[in-house]
Structures are given as structure tokens and as C-alpha cells.
């Protein structure tokens, strides 16, 4: 290979990295088709879409920037309560509430991130946990505002765009969530393929190197932490608006953990990990967990161990391996 051909090749690869591939349309085709094919499952569908947004927020910080957190529910809950409180106090316009929820979560992310992001490893893990615990405790304490353990009642969410009422069958909820997920995906995709996104991967892979090439590592981590917090906040707001209820559980450790597990199953550090992991987990739970919940816990535990030991990249990682093997045999 001469340098004349090598140069365009390398450059091509760089320039083409962000271009839309055909398979990337698949989630939207499936999402749209599902609306017509499974009209009885739209409520579940909406919650899956919300789960994907939440998982996507985790993917951005954990998968791309390597920030291991167990407290992402703090932002989800902040968003849910923002939207919930607005709707309970007379402002039921969903879109503006969504923006407000994202903003509140982002501010929370910015402040908490500025405090904790200088630490690493177990210490960071603990700090994220502590913050989400404190927030949950605060929401429990502030019962007169949040409804405490009984949940926030009396939300009145107005129709989307003034036209589409949230209906019993979850049609509006589903399409609304699908639209928001689409926007979130566009944003996430842009971030991931931008120089900023690349530098995050750099920080995750090799922080010392990023320092050495003059990258403001702390600042970059803080920016993505804030963005991811906004994503989580929007997801929380969607849940509040579509269920018209907010319970303390939105801030729980369990929610953070479940989001993480779904992401791992799909594949961490891949844009489409959440798109695979969340539906897989939630549909399986809906189908099989009824049969015997005790076994469900057992099998999920076993699955986690198997994924970690044998299939680190989750489902997408396995698919990659399979493709590589096929290519080799061909």
C-alpha cells in the first residue's frame, strides 16, 4: 500500500464514521410498526421507550465516558418530580414541562458533577449513590410537596400540542415517547460522533494520554455528566406525564441498577445497546416474570454473570463476534 492510497482510505474511514447506515433505520421502522401490530401493548411500549432514553443517558456517561455510577435515578427522579409538580400545580403543558425537567436535571447534574467528578472508582460510585439516597430521602421528607411515600397525586397533563389527549390505550403516550426518543437519539448520535464524543472515549480508554495531549478531562466529564443528567430528567418527565403519577421509586437505587443491567445486556458503549437491552429485558420480564418471580431474579442473576464472563459486549458484542467469525469462515 502506498501513501497515496493509504491517505484517502484513512480519511474516508474518519469522514464516513458518522454517516447514517441503513440498519440504523431499523429501530424506527420497528418502533413505528409496533404501533400498528401491537395496539394492545402500547403502555408497555411507552415504558420501554422511556427505559431506552434512561439507559441511553447511562450509556453516554458509563459506556462512552467511563463514569461508573449507581445513582442515575437521581436525575430521572428530579425530572419526574419537575414534570409532576408542574402538572399538579396547574401547568400541564407536556412539552415545556419536558424542557423544564431536562433543565432541572441538568442543573442538578452540573452541581453534583462539579463536586464528585474529581474522584474515581469506588469513591465515585459511593458518591453517586449517596447523592441519590439523599435526594430520595429529601423527597420522602418533603411530603407536603411531593406526596412522600404515597406518591404525588393530582397531576393533570394537557394534550400534547394541544391536540393529542393521553388516552387509556396509551396511543398518544407511545407516539409521544417515540418522538422524544427519536430526538434523544439524534442528539446522542451527534454527541457520540463529534470530536467531543471521541475525546470522551479517549478519556475512558486512557486518561493519562488525554491529559498529555492537553484535554481538559474534568471539564469534558462534567459536560457529558450534565448532558446525561438532562437525558435522564427527560425520561423521568415522560414517565410522570404518561402515568400521571410520581412515586418515590423514581429516585431509587433499584431504578439505577435496572437501567444499568439493561444497558449491559444490550451492550455498553454502543449507541444501540439500550435499543436492544431495554426491550429484551422488559419484554422478558413482562412475559416470564409472572410465571415465577423468584426464578426470574435467579435467571437474571445468572444471565448477568454469563454476560460478564463470556459476552462482555452484551448482545451487540456477541453479534459482532458472530459476524467476525462468519466473515473469517467465508
Amino acid at each position: 500500500m502506498t501513501s497515496e492510497t493509504a491517505a484517502p482510505l484513512a480519511v474516508e474511514a474518519l469522514v464516513r464514521g458518522h454517516r447514517l447506515r441503513l440498519v440504523e433505520i431499523a429501530p424506527w421502522l420497528i418502533g413505528g410498526l409496533a404501533y400498528f401490530l401491537f395496539p394492545d401493548y402500547l403502555a408497555l411500549g411507552a415504558q420501554i421507550l422511556i427505559g431506552i432514553i434512561f439507559s441511553l443517558s447511562l450509556d453516554l456517561i458509563l459506556g462512552y465516558a467511563g463514569i461508573v455510577t449507581l445513582g442515575q435515578a437521581a436525575f430521572f427522579g428530579a425530572g419526574a418530580y419537575t414534570a409532576g409538580l408542574l402538572a399538579a400545580h396547574g401547568w400541564g403543558e407536556p412539552l415545556s414541562a419536558l424542557v423544564a425537567a431536562g433543565a432541572v436535571a441538568a442543573i442538578l447534574g452540573l452541581i453534583s458533577g462539579a463536586i464528585i467528578l474529581r474522584t474515581r472508582g469506588l469513591t465515585l460510585l459511593m458518591l453517586t449513590l449517596m447523592i441519590s439516597f439523599m435526594l430520595q430521602e429529601a423527597a420522602n421528607k418533603a411530603g407536603s410537596i411531593t406526596g412522600g411515600a404515597d406518591g404525588l397525586q393530582g397531576m393533570a397533563v394537557w394534550p400534547v400540542l394541544g391536540v393529542f389527549h393521553f388516552d387509556l390505550y396509551g396511543r398518544t403516550a407511545y407516539l409521544y415517547c417515540l418522538a422524544v426518543l427519536f430526538l434523544a437519539w439524534l442528539a446522542a448520535r451527534r454527541i457520540v460522533h463529534s470530536p467531543f464524543g471521541r475525546s470522551l472515549t479517549g478519556i475512558r480508554e486512557n486518561e493519562a494520554r488525554m491529559h498529555a495531549i492537553g484535554s481538559p478531562v474534568f471539564g469534558r466529564r462534567l459536560v457529558i455528566y450534565t448532558i446525561a443528567a438532562a437525558f435522564a430528567g427527560v425520561a423521568g418527565a415522560l414517565l410522570a406525564q404518561t402515568t400521571q403519577f410520581v412515586a418515590l421509586e423514581v429516585l431509587s437505587f433499584e431504578r439505577s441498577g435496572a437501567g444499568l443491567i439493561m444497558l449491559i445486556i444490550g451492550g455498553v458503549g454502543r449507541l444501540y445497546g439500550p435499543f436492544i437491552g431495554v426491550p429484551l429485558y422488559m419484554i422478558a420480564q413482562d412475559r416470564f416474570a409472572q410465571a415465577d418471580p423468584v426464578y426470574w431474579d435467579f435467571w437474571i442473576g445468572l444471565l448477568l454473570i454469563l454476560v460478564v464472563v463470556f459476552a462482555r459486549g452484551g448482545v451487540l458484542g456477541l453479534a459482532d463476534q458472530l459476524r467476525r467469525r462468519l466473515r473469517r469462515t467465508r
Binding site: 482510505l9 493519562a208 494520554r209 495531549i213 492537553g214 484535554s215
Partner: protein, 250 residues
């Protein structure tokens, strides 16, 4: 005229252990300077202090006359300080070109861009490509770093540092781990670096040191033992005793 890099009274303690004690060091513009010393002498600690990876316990660091002691690493890089690592710290899963692009994006201040796709800036790619060409590894541009032999990776390491257009370049054992057949290329590359870059080379390989360096500083137990021209160092009995005696077979 101020030095390219200067430290005064630089100290670093880990608890009761002093790993750098009152180091006064001066790196002239365009210098070819080597820092040598036995294992555990504190050479890498010194580099980490200069680059800002470690905070000094006392003392000052001046870059081009300006005090950078309190600045974070990124700011020092912006002021023209670059380094290579003793063990390759490249992004092994990325292409050679991308590795260099990362550094150039940072220098051009476009790495924080969140809107435009990476690869959409022609100037970044062109400059990265130019850096590779200068080191003669442009052919490897599209290959993943992990697919390259180690010697080649050392060159990429250098290309990344050069991409930052440094005024001061710290080379931490540039030929470490490279088979002697290939180390020649690295030496040639280093010799051909632009003369306005001040080089500080940390090396164990004495042949290489004497070939590249015009001045040598010997570090022992966190303190400077002696500094001088290669001839002076080679003749110094103290150096022979603590250092050369151990490493160079008679």
C-alpha cells in the same frame, strides 16, 4: 533570555518519603538534554511534576518564563509542553490517523465541539497526516494501533506529541522495549526533529544518550547529582560510582 523550561527548588514528598528534593533544573531553548539516573532515582516523578500529573510539595515550574506551577496539565500543553510515555499509551482500538487527530483537535481547540461530526474538519486531518508523513509512517494511517509492531507504535507516540506542536518535548525512554534493530529509526527521527523544539530525553540506553544529548543531568535519589556535557559526565568519578558502574559493563 528565559529558558524553555525551568524548575526551582522542586520538591515532592509522599508522606515521609522524598522523591524529589530541591531540584533546580534548566532546559534551554532548542536543547538536546538527557536526564539519566539509576532505577528509582525519580526521573518519571520529575516528568510528572513538570507536566502537572503530580502536584509539587514545594518549588516552582516555569515554562518559557511563565509560572505554570498551579496550572492543570491541559493548560501546560497549550503553552507548548508535550510528552511521550515510557510505555505506549495510545488508543489501541483507533486508527493511527485518529490517534494523531485527537491531539491536533485539542491543539486547534475543536475537540470540545459537540455539533459537527469528527472527521468533518479537513484541517485536522491534513495536519495529522502531515505529522505522520514527517515520521515516515503515513502508510500506517488507516491501521489500528494494536495491529502495529511495537517499534512503529513508538513512532505513533512521537507523532501524537509532535501533533501538539510543542516547544518543549519530554521523551520518557523513547526507545524502551524496541528491538535494537528498530531503535535506529527512532534515533534518526529524534535527531531530525526541528531544532527549535527543546528536548528532554530520559533514557537508560547510554549509547543513545551519548548520541543524542548535548547536555546530561544525573538524578540520584530525587536530587541532581551533577550536570554537564557528555564528556564531563562520562569522566565524572561520582557518576561512574553511583550510576555507570552499575549499568555499563567494563
Amino acid at each position: 533570555m528565559s529558558a524553555a523550561l525551568e524548575t526551582t527548588g522542586l520538591c515532592k514528598n509522599f508522606g515521609a518519603l522524598a522523591v524529589a528534593s530541591a531540584i533546580d533544573f534548566r532546559l534551554e531553548r532548542g536543547a538536546r538534554h538527557a536526564l539519566i539516573g539509576p532505577n528509582g532515582a525519580g526521573k518519571t516523578t520529575f516528568i510528572n511534576l513538570v507536566t502537572g500529573a503530580l502536584r509539587p510539595s514545594a518549588g516552582r515550574i516555569l515554562l518559557d518564563g511563565g509560572d505554570v506551577t498551579a496550572l492543570p496539565q491541559a493548560q501546560r500543553v497549550k503553552r507548548g509542553l508535550a510528552r511521550t510515555f515510557q510505555i505506549n499509551t495510545l488508543f489501541r482500538g483507533l486508527s493511527v490517523l485518529e490517534n494523531v487527530c485527537m491531539a491536533i483537535s485539542e491543539r486547534l481547540g475543536v475537540a470540545g465541539d459537540i455539533h459537527r461530526p469528527a472527521g468533518s474538519r479537513r484541517e485536522v486531518i491534513d495536519q495529522a497526516y502531515a505529522a505522520l508523513e514527517r515520521l515516515g509512517i503515513a502508510d500506517d494511517a488507516p491501521r489500528l494501533v494494536r495491529e502495529l509492531p511495537y517499534g512503529r507504535q513508538r513512532l505513533v507516540e512521537l507523532a501524537v506529541a509532535l501533533g501538539l506542536e510543542p516547544k518543549v518535548l519530554l521523551l520518557d525512554e523513547p526507545a524502551a522495549g524496541v528491538p535494537s534493530t528498530e531503535s535506529g529509526i527512532i534515533v534518526e527521527v529524534i535527531e531530525s526533529l526541528p531544532q527549535d523544539i527543546a528536548l528532554l530525553i530520559i533514557e537508560h540506553d547510554m549509547d543513545l544518550v551519548f548520541r543524542l544529548a548535548r547536555r546530561i543531568t544525573v538524578l540520584v535519589q530525587g536530587a541532581i547529582l551533577v550536570e554537564g556535557t557528555p564528556q564531563e559526565i562520562a569522566a565524572d568519578p561520582r557518576v561512574r560510582e553511583v550510576y555507570l558502574g552499575e549499568h555499563v559493563s567494563p
